[in-house]
């Protein structure tokens, strides 16, 4: 018996709700998540591409700037021979034209011979005659023709860098040397504008700033150790690091100037990905709203579903009850048939013995026996009780018997009318009115009329016996659900208490006094109706009456009997 309590339905409801919700939420989460990740990847790509672009652009413009300066100086040395250039007025002119060309980026300019002696100088410092033979830039320019230094302070205590070009070879070589103001040079780099937090700067391979980072620090200051990786690499690389304020910073770096300078472009991650974050927040909001919607829909769907299940369970439990009932009846039937059979013979013997004794008492030899009347009375009683037993065993046997039924067309209304004819007179005597409500358009049925007669007779008799001191029996015929004919037999008797409802089809259950009823009638009816492929059910209001409803299929299922 699957009698589910309220709590188990609640459990079921929770279970289904969770399952449904998860089933709905997982695809949503997966879709949302994967879209988000795709989007994030594309935003990342966009950000890194942007940074990379800036890095490359800057690298190129710095290199171009330095190249242009060196090229311009190179051209100068080619156009103006050494003997000309050492003349201070000529050098001044050269200096002026370079300044014009390069927005006053130059600090000073000088000519140096192959012995590293400053021969001519235009600038703010007194450097004439100074010998640079030990200076690393001198060695390098003698070797490579062109030299661009790192930024350094030198003895003038201002960050600058040296650009030197050599003309001629060996003893005839001479050098044009200029200093570029670091601030001027830096402006090329420092003017990177990339949101609020974007900036670019250069460090040399020892980690000294060559230009001023916007977020603090000065040229020629050493960057914080460990802040920048200073291993040379090719192309552009990215890092994500912890910034000074604890924020995340995305850095793009590339080496330039023969791996001497490292160009860094950086931006706070939060700013770089701001677009992504707003999208993400929108997505989360959508997800939450969607989740709430899903939850609501799930909740109502589940409620509906569980209610359906509950209803199905109820129906099933009714069916189960009927099934158990019919199984019980079948097994009880078999059992009682067996028993009845066994009892039959001893019963026959008892009957015969009593009969024999009655025969004996009729003999002349026993006439005048004083206890004759008592004997006769007792024997009559024995015979009568044996008869009573016989009735029971025969009913039981008919209950389990394989009946050869005669199946033919049956007009239910006529058949019911026949049965009423059998009990009608009795009913009238007990002041019972019989009300007929026949549906005149009932189709003919294909069933076993004699067994049906037995059923109706039994149920109508019960109704008659239930009514005391007058009342009404109503018999209603009509079309039932799904190709069935339904017959309702109601009485205005005292009704059946709920406690007994489950027992009324049980064999031997009777409310009649001993000897008046065997308690087999309804169970036999039940058996017959089952065999005919129908069902019989009962509804009762205590104090108002009882209604038996019999549904019968129009077409008997072959092999059902």
């Amino acid at each position: 018996m699957a009698k589910k309590g309220r709590h188990s339905y609640r459990g079921l409801r929770q279970y289904i709700t969770i399952i449904l919700f998860v089933a709905a939420a997982i695809p949503m989460a997966v879709t949302g998540g994967s879209i988000y990740y795709e989007y994030r990847a594309s935003i990342r790509e966009k950000v890194t591409t942007q940074l990379e672009g800036i890095v490359i652009f800057h690298k190129e413009s710095i290199e171009r700037f330095l190249e242009e300066i060196t090229a311009a100086m190179m051209v100068t040395t080619q156009l103006k021979p050494f003997d000309k250039t050492v003349q201070s007025d000529v050098l001044q002119e050269v200096f002026n034209s370079l300044q014009r060309q390069y927005k006053h980026a130059f600090g000073d300019i000088g000519v140096i011979d192959s012995k590293a002696t400053h021969l001519a100088y235009i600038g703010a410092y007194d450097l004439l005659g100074k010998n640079y033979s030990d200076a690393p830039w001198f060695k390098e320019v003698m070797e490579k023709r062109v030299f661009v230094s790192d930024v350094f302070l030198g003895f003038r205590r201002l960050p600058h860098l040296i650009v030197a070009v050599r003309q001629g070879d060996g003893k005839n070589s001479w050098i044009l040397r200029a200093t570029v103001d670091a601030a001027r040079f830096g402006s090329v780099v420092e003017n990177v504008r990339l949101g609020h937090t974007g900036q670019a700067f250069i460090v040399n391979k020892e980690g000294y700033y060559q230009t001023r980072p916007r977020t603090g620090g000065y040229v020629m200051e050493k960057s914080e150790p460990g802040d920048l990786e200073l291993k040379p690499f090719d192309g552009v690389n990215f890092w994500e690091v912890q910034g000074k304020k604890g924020q995340k910073v995305l850095r793009a770096k590339t080496w330039m100037k023969d791996n001497n300078w490292l160009l860094v472009v950086q931006q706070d991650v939060d700013e770089a990905f701001a677009e992504l974050y707003t999208t993400r927040n929108a997505a989360i909001l959508m997800f939450i709203l969607g989740g709430i919607l899903v939850a609501v829909v799930t909740f109502f769907t589940t409620r509906l579903l569980v209610r359906k299940i509950e209803r199905a369970d109820e129906e099933k439990s009714v069916l189960d009850e009927q099934l158990i009932q019919s199984q019980k009846l079948a097994s009880v039937g078999k059992l009682s048939a067996g028993i009845a059979h066994e009892i039959n013979n001893p019963l026959a013997i008892i009957g015969e013995e009593a009969g024999w004794m009655q025969d004996l008492l009729k003999r002349d030899s026993l006439k005048g026996l004083r206890e004759m009347d008592d004997f006769k009375d007792s024997l009559r009683e024995i015979a009568q009780q044996a008869g009573r037993c016989k009735e029971i065993t025969h009913k039981l046997l008919s209950f389990a018997r394989k009946m050869k039924s005669v199946i033919k067309d049956v007009n239910i209304n006529e058949l019911v009318e026949d049965v009423i004819g059998m009990v009608g007179r009795d009913a009238a005597l007990s002041n019972i009115k019989i009300v007929r409500e026949y549906n005149a358009h009932l189709p003919l049925m294909y069933s076993d009329p004699s067994q049906l007669r037995q059923v109706f007779l039994n149920v109508i008799n019960n109704a008659r016996d239930a009514i005391e001191g007058g009342g009404e029996i109503k018999i209603e015929t009509g079309i039932g659900e799904g190709d069935t004919i339904s017959i309702k037999i109601s009485d205005t008797g005292p009704g059946i208490p709920k406690a007994n409802m489950g027992k009324i089809f049980d064999p031997f259950y009777t409310t009649k006094p001993p000897g008046k009823g065997t308690g087999l009638g309804l169970s036999i009816c039940h058996g017959i109706i089952e065999k005919l492929g129908g069902d019989i059910s009962v509804a009762s209001d205590v104090g108002k009456g009882t209604t038996f409803t019999i549904n019968l299929p129009l077409e008997l299922k072959r092999g059902g009997i």
Partner: protein
């Protein structure tokens, strides 16, 4: 009217004995046996008018016994005694030539009536047979 000769066949010994006494008391010539085999044996050796035959018996059952009895003596009348569940076989028995069936336990008066009816039937039939035979003899006689 001569006494009808009755044979009771039932595996319940006591039933046979008591019924024998009761029917004898009512002026019948009764003999009882306790199995189908015994019945066949008895009918083979002695003439009987009516056999009261139980349907359900161990060994040879009522129907089989009936078949054999009818082979031996087609004119013999048989009353089948049956429990309710074997009504079908009792009906089958009637198809095979049993005169009638009764429900066990049966009422003695009812049984007597049935025996009388069966015996009467047998009597009239036997009379007709005798008359027919007499006619045949008369027809054949030269005259």
């Amino acid at each position: 009217m001569p006494k009808p000769r009755i044979l009771i066949v039932d595996d319940e010994e006591r039933f046979v004995k008591t019924l024998t006494k009761r029917l004898t008391e009512r002026g019948l010539d009764v003999f009882g046996v306790y199995s189908g085999r015994g019945a066949i044996e008895e009918v083979r050796n002695n003439p009987y008018d009516v056999v009261i035959l139980d349907v359900r018996m161990p060994g040879l059952d009522g129907i089989e016994t009936l078949r054999e009895l009818k082979k031996i003596d087609p004119g013999i009348e048989v009353l089948m005694l049956t429990g309710h569940a074997s009504v079908d076989s009792a009906v089958e028995g009637m198809r095979l030539g049993a005169h009638e069936y009764l429900m066990k336990p049966c009422d003695i008066e009812e049984l007597m009536e049935k025996i009388d009816a069966a015996y009467e039937l047998k009597q009239t039939r036997d009379d007709r047979i005798r008359q027919a035979e007499a006619r045949r003899i008369v027809d054949r006689s030269p005259g």
